[in-house]
């Protein structure tokens, strides 16, 4: 059933009209034209679609719009709203990526996890990234960047 929803994305209130079961991913990409969040599987297993909702990393592909209504969403576009985010700076320094398709989801999960608990270690993060896949094999560089970021926080 089509309904009206209000969501706050990267600090801006947005009104959208969509079927209640429309995945948040398509709301972001197609209704709001925020293309930084990617489709990978639609099953909640690859993490390409990861965004932060009310402070927690979630899979936007299996989060229907009704469940996101009135929530605060942060996407990769929000991260660099005020210049390059320090985590992204570390990723750039490490040249952490090949095709780069997986990066937005991974970045958002790492950001969400560390914001919530800055005492996490790089091993904790590696374990919690088990549903964020990278086929090109950029994991060593990504983890190095995470380690550098954690080092600067402490």
């Amino acid at each position: 059933m089509t309904n009206k929803y209000k969501i706050n994305v990267n600090g801006i209130d947005q009104n959208v009209e969509a079927d209640e079961n429309t995945p948040l991913l398509y709301i972001l990409r197609n209704h709001l034209k925020l293309k930084g969040t990617k489709f990978g599987c639609g099953d909640g297993i690859c993490g390409a679609c990861t965004v932060i909702m009310d402070g927690l990393p979630i899979f936007s592909c299996d989060t229907p719009i009704w469940a996101a209504a009135d929530k605060e969403i942060e996407t990769i576009e929000g991260l660099s709203k005020n210049g390059v985010h320090p985590l992204q700076e570390e990723l750039i320094n490490e040249q952490a990526g090949q095709c780069g398709y997986c990066l937005s989801g991974i970045t958002m999960r790492v950001k969400g996890l560390i914001d919530k608990d800055p005492s996490k270690t790089v091993n904790d993060i590696a374990n919690e990234l088990d549903r964020n896949l990278c086929r090109c094999g950029s994991q060593t560089r990504i983890l190095k960047a995470v380690e550098n970021y954690l080092g600067k926080l402490s």
């Binding site: 990409r29 090949q98 780069g100 937005s104 964020n132 086929r135 090109c136």
Partner: protein, 699 residues
């Protein structure tokens, strides 16, 4: 027109490659496309070096058939070896031509003029002349070969520098526009409903029921090609299952229960790939191996995607294909449309590791767009399609019989490779090998492709010839054409299994003589460059000393026997499963353009190869491919990643060598050799799963 830019036969002039603009930029045209490997950055670095400019001044165009060079297909780790060299020559020619003009205007000798970031300096002082001020007056319609004069080793200042990837900044910020992110006015979204297995076909479809479904814009049925179109992406996705419920497909049974066993027992004709010395007369004790690997998926994180627009006259296609120009010729052949009326534009896709479904999804999009003239139609494959509709990397079996003489010398290697085809690239052909081409009402039947001969790099038999000093070598292959699944090129092709077979056998021979695997290899080698990478990897990995509970294995290959050299040591721990802890690699890729770019490729290669070695395999139920999601086809996860150390030997006087596929075979073999040293078992069938280890220990 089919151009081969590396030969300058069809792109002979400087202007075919470069043009200077008054605003201080240079347009550079490349035939090779970015597929996640960082090739654009390497190319810009080469050109900036020869032109003596800041690389940021270069605007690179690649893979647009409207105004770029036809570089054929970007594959086989060849871009640096072919187009990298051509670009260097073309850039040097542009520089010389401009210098000549500047010298004439300044009435000076060329040797007194220096170029700094595109500006000309005479005896150290500024002249106000630059590439940009001369842009209008100097015609670049001169022959590259006449003017080219690449820099000498001493003159270079950018080579060997780790410039940052030009595309990565925006990709990290989420701002890069991938093919998936293109938007057009009134764009429609389509999804294809596939037959459940390779040879099953549509029996009937309830069009009436389907057309009454909500949100449907159009149903397209052409033979067994079924597609559904909607205004919204989410609706198109929703419709797939509903449409599929109204389709009845033939069910195909096959007698093949174990595809690898089937390949092993094939009676396909045997052809000779290479013969050196005389295998028949070689004597000694026999040591042999029979290595195999199951079928694999490309498994890109972002599924294949294409957008097509069939206008009044023009057909425009947006693709992440490795082969935009050949694709244009293929579309022209299929739709009987003049090539001039077809534009193909390349956009970056998710990582590409070989011939995946990128070309197939183009045909999907065009078949649908043809029925919706004037609309942009976007097709994105589902996760299931990405895994099970893309061509698979074929399963393979490689058998080697070696004869060892009384002094431990290797007298012969007799190699037999059995494999389904590795090269079914459709682009440039008449439509054969494209997925939907087999489903439409007048299907284009795929002929059996020729397996690339060894002197062109080989396919099934790629890297089947050991580089060790062995007097008698024979390589034969059997190409298995009678399996139902589409198979084609994935990173390394046959090299993965062939290197695995050779390098695990080398260890078995060494151990049978009580020799150290590294020492044994070195004593059977003459090539200095091979010896150098092996010795260095021994050093950096502290070969010979093990930590308690960890075990090391070593392996080597030179990709295609003509590409980059890679020696690798793997260190593992074995508990319930194998855990790869450390991996050291030493690479010799000739002259190094961008060390970090090479490291990035090698690290990625090691991680992907580890995944293929320990986890990945496609399972089948009859003809049906069971790899449908990340649970039925898992890959390596963040917490299973080893520490990786890569050293590069720079050889500035040697030609560039491609590295993209260099680490695959050595990674698999080094892990297996480490397992041998840990548990004294040899797993011959890849992947090396827990079950295989247990049954090997027990058996």
């Amino acid at each position: 027109m089919n151009m081969f830019p590396n030969s300058f036969d069809s792109a002979p002039k400087i202007e075919n490659w470069f043009s200077f603009r008054e605003n201080g930029t240079v347009r550079m045209v490349s035939g090779k496309v970015e597929i996640g490997q960082g090739i654009n950055t390497a190319f810009m670095q080469i050109a900036a070096e020869e032109l003596d400019i800041n690389p940021e001044r270069i605007e690179l165009s690649a893979g647009d058939t409207r105004d770029c060079l036809d570089g054929g297909c970007t594959s086989g780790s060849q871009s640096m070896q072919t187009e990298g060299v051509s670009l260097r020559k073309a850039a040097s020619a542009a520089r010389m031509l401009m210098l000549e003009k500047a010298a004439e205007l300044l009435q000076s000798d060329i040797n007194n003029i220096e170029i700094k970031d595109g500006e000309f300096f005479l005896n150290g002082s500024s002249t106000k002349l630059s590439y940009w001020s001369l842009a209008k007056d100097v015609k670049l319609d001169k022959s590259v070969e006449k003017y080219m004069k690449p820099k000498t080793k001493e003159q270079k200042r950018l080579m060997g520098k780790s410039l940052k990837r030009i595309d990565l900044h925006d990709k990290i910020l989420g701002k890069h526009k991938f093919i998936h992110d293109l938007e057009f006015d009134q764009m429609l979204h389509a999804r294809v409903i596939r037959p459940p297995s390779a040879s099953s076909r549509l029996i009937s479809i309830d069009k009436e029921k389907i057309n009454s479904l909500p949100n449907i814009k159009k149903l397209i049925v052409d033979g067994s090609f079924v597609a559904v179109v909607s205004k919204n992406e989410e609706d198109a996705v929703q419709l797939v299952n509903k449409v599929n419920k109204q389709c009845h497909w033939t069910q195909v049974k096959t007698a093949i229960t174990d595809p690898i066993e089937y390949i092993r027992n094939t009676d396909a004709p045997m052809t000779l790939s290479l013969e050196k010395g005389n295998i028949e007369t070689a004597e000694g004790t026999n040591i042999s191996t029979e290595a195999s690997r199951n079928f694999l998926c490309h498994a890109s994180i972002g599924p294949c995607c294409s957008i097509a627009h069939w206008g009044d006259k023009k057909l425009s296609v947006y693709t992440h294909s490795q082969a935009p120009f050949p694709m244009k010729r293929t579309l022209s052949a299929i739709f009987k449309k003049p090539e001039d009326d077809i534009d193909v534009q390349h956009y970056h896709g998710s990582g590409c590791y070989g011939h995946n479904g990128a070309d197939d999804v183009v045909l999907d999009a065009v078949l649908i767009a043809k029925e919706l003239i004037g609309h942009h139609v976007r097709v994105v494959w589902s996760r299931e399609d990405e895994l099970s509709s893309s061509p698979l990397a074929p399963g393979m079996v490689t058998k080697i019989d070696a004869k060892i003489g009384s002094k431990g010398e290797i007298n012969s290697f007799d190699v037999l490779v059995k494999s389904p085809p590795h090269v079914k690239r459709p682009a440039g052909k008449n439509g054969e090998y494209l997925l939907a081409a087999e489903h439409i009402s007048s299907p284009i039947t795929p002929p059996n492709p020729i397996d690339t001969p060894l002197n062109k790099g080989g396919a099934a038999d790629r890297n089947s010839v050991p580089l060790y000093d062995i007097p008698n070598i024979r390589v034969r292959k059997q190409v298995v054409y009678d399996l139902p699944w589409r198979t084609s090129a994935m990173r390394g092709l046959g090299a993965f299994v062939n290197v695995y077979a050779i390098e695990t056998l080398m260890d078995d021979i060494a151990l049978s003589q009580g020799k150290d695997p590294l020492e044994f290899r070195l004593s059977n080698l003459k090539d200095e460059r091979v010896i150098a990478v092996l010795e260095q990897v021994g050093e950096i990995s502290n070969w010979g000393s093990n930590n308690p509970d960890t075990y090391k294995g070593i392996a080597f290959s030179r990709y295609k026997n003509i590409g980059a050299y890679c020696a690798l040591v793997a260190e593992i721990k074995v508990d319930e499963e194998i855990e790869l802890i450390n991996s050291w690699a030493v690479i010799d890729a000739g002259e190094i353009v961008n060390p970090d770019g090479i490291k990035n490729q090698i690290e990625g290669g090691i991680i992907q190869a580890t995944s293929c070695t320990l986890i990945e395999e496609v399972n089948f139920d009859q003809e049906i491919i069971l790899a449908k999601d990340w649970e039925t086809y898992p890959i390596l996860k963040f917490n299973q990643i080893p520490k990786i150390y890569v050293d590069i030997i720079d050889r500035p006087e040697e030609p560039f060598l491609g590295v993209g596929e260099a680490a695959h075979g050595p990674t698999a073999a080094a892990i297996s050799n480490a397992l041998m040293s840990a548990l004294n078992i040899r797993i011959k069938e890849l992947p090396i799963t827990r079950d295989r280890i247990i049954s090997s220990v027990n058996g």
